[in-house]
Point group: C2
Chain length 369, copies 2
Amino acid sequence: MLKNDLLIRALQRKPVHRTPIWIMRQAGRYLPEYREVRKKTDFLTLCKTPELAAKVTLQPVEIMDVDAAIIFSDILVVPEAMGMRLEMLESQGPRFLEPIRSRSDIEKLVTPDVSQALRYVEDAIRLTKRELHGRVPIIGFSGAAWSLFAYAVEGRASKDFKVAKELIYACRSDAHALLQKLNRVLTDYLLLQIEAGANAIQLFDTWASLLSEDAFLEFSLTYIQETVQTIKTKYPNVPVIVFAKGANTVLSEIAKTGCDAIGLDWTIDIGRARWQLADRVALQGNLDPMILYAPHDVIRKEAAKILQKFGEHSDASGHVFNLGHGILPDIDPAHLKTLIDFVKSESTKYHHQIQFSLTQKDKKDDSVS
Amino acid sequence: MLKNDLLIRALQRKPVHRTPIWIMRQAGRYLPEYREVRKKTDFLTLCKTPELAAKVTLQPVEIMDVDAAIIFSDILVVPEAMGMRLEMLESQGPRFLEPIRSRSDIEKLVTPDVSQALRYVEDAIRLTKRELHGRVPIIGFSGAAWSLFAYAVEGRASKDFKVAKELIYACRSDAHALLQKLNRVLTDYLLLQIEAGANAIQLFDTWASLLSEDAFLEFSLTYIQETVQTIKTKYPNVPVIVFAKGANTVLSEIAKTGCDAIGLDWTIDIGRARWQLADRVALQGNLDPMILYAPHDVIRKEAAKILQKFGEHSDASGHVFNLGHGILPDIDPAHLKTLIDFVKSESTKYHHQIQFSLTQKDKKDDSVS
């Protein structure tokens, strides 16, 4: 039983008394407590040591009082589990030593038993869960097939992922072969996370922003839909959030995958998005991460704008406050705390009607009893 | 008098028998003829030597048979003319040696007489114009205030333009002071280009993609509108194209600036954009530049899709074919030629109704005479 189930209720578009908040990349370098752990441990070792992964997963819950934990890991552990050698250099960001460049590279990728190959994530979730004692839900996650594909083919983050995009346009069937293979493994991996105790799932498709609408539908959304359907068939009560960065012109298509919520980056007005989607899904987001550099009063003003743009909640609307992308490593934790505290108090006013109707209901129930 | 006025007619939403095409960054490194010129001349010297700038401006007209020339220059010549020292290193891209970091930096920027400080661009346009003999129109351009601001503050291209964005959120009035100053100069500069003979104008706002809708409206579109209005008041017949990359959720707001056309990047379906804007402006774009890496038949297929998505032309619709961003330096010119030839022939079928009505009109005129 969860003591704070605001996140789950909001994702399921059930009434809540305030808007829940968590922060993408909330366990990370901006926290001195995280940097303390990292002093002694490199990034991959941290991911692969359940005790340490659980420890940093809990940090933002304890320090920032957010409404959810998200398991500390990296989207690239999936291709790594499929046999790709991954190097994480502090200075350069993650890099695959032998990027996928041919059909035979694709065929050489293994389709592992995730409960073996990614056992360390399962263990980290179980451990975190135990230490959370139901304080808040825990979110499991994976990169979406297209974003994993982009890294696996390019080898590393790049401005335009030229090699990856060349592959989809020039060798379409090879591209689909790789996407299918990645998707099978990442879907198994998400199921494993749910079995270990994840209460909600987020699919990250950061590199959706590189694709045309047609290419997004063909090379990304098809696979996202497959994953969402598999999860929802097996675990209908576990909410699934799809965060496809930059895919702001195809939100309706994303909603049709059957996901419970759509994560929005900061470039679309959340009021416009809600209007378009008419509460068919919950929305998550969408503060520009850069706003956390601004003074405290600007942070409050900008957060208020998002709450106001989303507007009054109905009986079947859902909003989870978050940034529009991951928090930056040089943000002052005090600025984030200002945001979190403000959203918790300010958001109550947009849930008035619901509180009112709940109160009315209570009264009626009282009078009947 | 222009022999080929397809671009101008399409931008003004007048009937044409086929869709015109030009290519962003069409005078550039992908052309061996351009690289030949650059062997002997660095980038800035090329910009500042009217004979050479005119020469490379004409190259794509002569080699690729595009429907417009665009004057060879760089958006950063404006801040340079305002006193910012610019360094163009082949290896690193352009860089301002002393980026704007304080109110006093903003105040120190000069507001030059552009007919002196940017005389070399005026001369290059006059020279190009003379050598074009009216074959095709010539496009003048500038970076929009926000994109110039982003470079001037950041100092160089960056993934997220953190310093520039920190400035707009933390020091809003300073940001506006700088934007106003930049906008005054760039507007004068565009008027100068029209006086020198530019037949159309494009405002490039590449870094619009970094902004939330509210921030885009406040820090970019306000200034774009001011520029468009100034140009259209003075030169109502010179079409103005606004290309705000990534601003796909605010196309209607861009159309309200009074511009004649909106440039689209490749991430929005052009059919969806046309439907939203209902032919209130012409559209330009929007092939993913990466598609030019693909085999010739894929290029034709993808170009056909864009023509088909835009659909049948009406009496008051306009489409200018282009890429959704600049052509990449390692594209094979033969691939670009395939695109251009295909668009020219394939597009005629979408202008049938107009040709038919023109023919009917001709017949009627004949019968009357």
